[in-house]
């Protein structure tokens, strides 16, 4: 059993590691069951974003923390992390391998921790002082702290280097003033990584610096924003006279842009992890749905379903193929392809669901597995935007992977 997961490994060392991971996981969780096997029962699980109440949100965050703790204790909590900080010191490829394998098991949803583990911790390790790593990265890896990213502002989204939130030096502290927006996890995160302007006179990309901001610092105020799906998975964050010690600066003054880009690359990479599994399950549900509404002989439906099958399989193989490419042969932007492809798949799955459901997509009949697709379709819209819009990512890929000349920059 679980042999299918071992083929994801490409070297002997990876195979050994994969065997340990499978043993760890299978002792704790079942493989994900096919959703169609218990059609009509349980959670329809078609939300791409959290739609939870406060209490549910806390419960989900706690479940994620507990699972991260269990991973940590078993040596799977920080696979590529430095040994001196409690990490396992294995190559990044082992980490990706673990996540691909874990995707096949019915583990708790880790999305509350994803930003901390996928985006913030790696840059803390790469650019932070030992103190920052000990105080923040290690506890995040252990599941004790939840992170959020304080990047976007009302006036600075795609053009992130245009942020206006500023930090001014006061003694040993920096005092931050401004407003951040679209802060995922903002309402329950313990720390935020903020990109702010520290030099108003320097050229746009050079005057930026990163700080780790404990979210309970006086002057930090988080207000939830309701997203179009109805829930509140992000927030706006107001920063008024927020004092953080200089020891919370990540990297040098003026290095903020460079490090943020590294962080964003990490985020784009981690989008695909769970999505492949979700998409596969959604595709299976759609097949059953097609049968139930009597459309599985409709050539149009067959063609659209199979087109999705082709793109999802190809995307999964792409992920596995990239796994085999040594890190030094990649520019880093290759994996961003995954983010774009996953977002398209989300969209197209939602469209096919709508096609099959007809009026029950637009009005709830109360039937299981029907109206819930609206949440999927609406959520899909966000995936094309979050973590860099499709347009921006296409430009990044063209410039970094294909080497096309950069756009003129002001």
């Amino acid at each position: 059993m679980n042999e299918d997961l071992l083929v994801l490994a490409t070297t002997t060392a990876e195979r050994e590691f994969a065997t340990q991971a499978v043993a760890f996981l299978s002792a704790r969780y079942d493989r994900r069951r096919s959703l169609t096997a218990n059609w009509g029962e349980g959670d329809e699980a078609l939300s791409l974003f959290h739609e939870s109440t406060d209490a549910q949100e806390r419960a989900e965050a706690n479940a994620a923390r507990a699972w991260q703790r269990a991973r940590w204790d078993a040596g799977f909590g920080w696979i590529a992390g430095p040994v001196e900080y409690g990490g396992r010191g294995l190559p990044a490829s082992h980490d990706r391998l673990y996540r691909m394998i874990e995707g096949a098991f019915d583990v708790p949803d880790m999305s509350p921790l994803r930003i901390g583990l996928g985006t913030i911790s790696p840059v803390l390790v790469a650019f932070g002082t030992p103190e920052l790593i000990e105080t923040y990265a290690v506890p995040m890896q252990r599941g004790d702290l939840i992170g959020c990213q304080l990047f976007s502002e009302p006036g600075a989204g795609s053009d992130l280097a245009g942020v206006r939130t500023r930090a001014i030096r006061r003694g040993d502290d920096w005092v931050i003033d401004g407003q951040k927006v679209w802060t995922s996890n903002g309402s329950f995160a313990d720390i935020g990584l903020a990109i702010v302007r520290t030099d108003a006179d320097a050229p746009k990309h050079r005057g930026l610096t990163l700080f780790v901001v404990p979210m309970d610092t006086p002057g930090v105020e988080v207000r939830r924003i309701r997203q179009l799906t109805g829930g509140h998975s992000f927030a706006e964050t107001f920063l008024s006279d927020v004092a953080v010690p200089d020891s919370h600066r990540l990297g040098e003054e003026g290095e903020g842009w460079k490090i943020t880009n590294r962080a964003l690359a990490g985020e784009r990479r981690s989008v695909g992890d769970r999505s492949h599994e979700m998409n596969a399950r959604a595709l299976e549900l759609l097949r059953t749905l097609a049968e139930r509404v009597g459309r599985s002989d409709d050539p149009l439906v067959r063609d659209r379903w199979a087109a999705l099958y082709v793109s999802l399989q190809s995307a999964r193989f792409q992920q596995q193929r990239m796994q085999a490419v040594p890190e030094d042969r990649l520019t880093g932007a290759e994996r961003a392809i995954d983010k774009v492809v996953v977002a398209w798949a989300f969209r197209d799955l939602g469209r096919l669901a709508a096609e099959l459901l007809g009026p029950s997509f637009a009005a709830d009949t109360g039937e299981w597995g029907t109206f819930a697709w609206t949440r999927w379709s609406l959520g899909a819209l966000g995936y094309r935007i979050a973590g860099g819009t499709e347009e921006i990512i296409k430009t990044v890929i063209a410039e970094r992977v294909l080497g096309l000349p950069r756009e003129p920059r002001v």
Binding site: V7, A306, S314, Q318, R321, A324, T395, G403, P405
Partner: protein, 364 residues
């Protein structure tokens, strides 16, 4: 899956170097105007020096016994170079067909000759105006009828023919293909020839069990499709490369056209299509070599992904080249035509998807 070994890199480099000398644009253009369609001397050298024809032929039959994954590397390179040769028909299709047929005597007779480069074999499946029928007499079997769309049918030394028999569809080998009435079809892709063949009381030998023709053909198609997919990946990769290179050097509005976002995004889309198709083809190759039950399904996935990639990448290549891309002189059209032809050589992408719907349902 997807292991990258040094041997694979070396194989790729060797083939690429060979094709750079033997299949550069001038040669392709010269050969595509001939009726033979390929250079026999190159074919010989390819067998004698590189052993490509025999790469995936079992050692007992004079080959090197490698798998489909290795042959895919060769096909990718041939697709990049638009190699004019009967490799697809002979090596990628007829050889798997002979192996799948289980006809040991015929395999022992023909495969060493293929590996050596002394015999080419075409496969004739689609009927022409007259259905092809096989009849048994005292001396064996004869064929009557016609076939068309036979890839490399006019130049092949031998032809394997699918024909009706009382026991169901059967495969037959015509040993003396030159004796057939063979008409070259005018092809969209001049770098790959197709022919119409007609059979009049033509002597033929059964290949494997007479009633098993369709089953053998279906099984061989899995391999053949997977190899064509690899060739298409090479073609896509080369089209992308040509386009990106051009976008870097062509200036308009005092800027390289590749700095315009509209052009960049088209190029990124070409890259994404090519990358996904590469992964799909690779997965299919690995599945075929592993004897995986999912191989037929994955070969269809690869075929659908590569067919669509060929068409969209080829179209954007022409667009980004502008007027020069619409000329006979520029090589873009040669690639475009290969793409448009290969994208439906063994079924269109929607036909593949229809099969995928059924196969994916069955494996659930």
């Amino acid at each position: 899956m997807f292991e990258l070994s040094r041997e694979h890199d070396e194989l790729r480099a060797t083939v690429r170097k060979f094709l750079a000398r033997r299949s550069e644009e001038g040669t392709v253009r010269r050969l595509m105007e001939t009726s033979q369609g390929y250079d026999e001397q190159t074919w010989q050298v390819m067998a004698a020096q590189l052993g490509l024809q025999g790469l995936a032929i079992p050692e007992e039959h004079g080959g090197s016994g490698f798998g489909v994954v290795e042959l895919q590397i060769v096909m990718e390179e041939m697709g990049r170079a638009l190699m004019c040769s009967p490799f697809l028909a002979t090596v990628c299709w007829a050889v798997p067909l002979l192996l799948e047929s289980g006809d040991a005597a015929l395999a022992a007779e023909l495969l060493p000759a293929v590996a050596e480069g002394s015999v080419t074999v075409a496969v004739a499946v689609q009927d022409g105006e007259r259905a092809t029928v096989a009849q048994r007499d005292d001396d064996g079997w004869t064929l009557d009828g016609s076939k068309r769309f036979v890839v490399d049918g006019a130049s092949a030394d031998r032809v394997v023919v699918l024909a009706r028999t009382p026991e169901g569809p059967g495969l037959f080998l015509v040993d003396d293909a030159a004796s057939l009435v063979r008409t070259a079809m005018t092809t969209l892709d001049q770098t790959r020839k197709q022919a119409a063949l007609s059979f009049e009381q033509t002597r033929a030998r059964p290949v494997g069990d007479v009633g098993a023709g369709q089953t053998v053909l279906d099984a061989a198609m899995v391999t053949a499709r997977t190899l064509l997919a690899a060739e298409s990946v090479g073609t896509c990769a080369r089209m992308l490369e040509m386009t990106v290179n051009y976008a870097k050097i062509r200036h308009q509005f005092d800027r390289p056209i590749g700095s315009f976002q509209a052009v960049k995004h088209l190029c990124t889309r070409m890259l994404i299509d090519t990358e996904l198709a590469t992964s799909a083809a690779g997965a299919a190759g690995a599945a075929v070599d592993a004897g995986d039950d999912a191989a037929p399904l994955l070969s269809r996935v690869a075929a659908a992904a590569t067919s669509d990639a060929l068409e969209s990448v080829a179209a954007e290549m022409i667009e980004i080249h502008g007027g020069i891309g619409f000329t006979w002189e520029h090589p873009a059209h040669l690639y475009y035509k290969r793409a448009a032809s290969s994208a439906r050589l063994w079924g269109s992408s929607s036909e593949h998807r229809s099969a995928i719907f059924d196969l994916a349902g069955a494996t659930k």
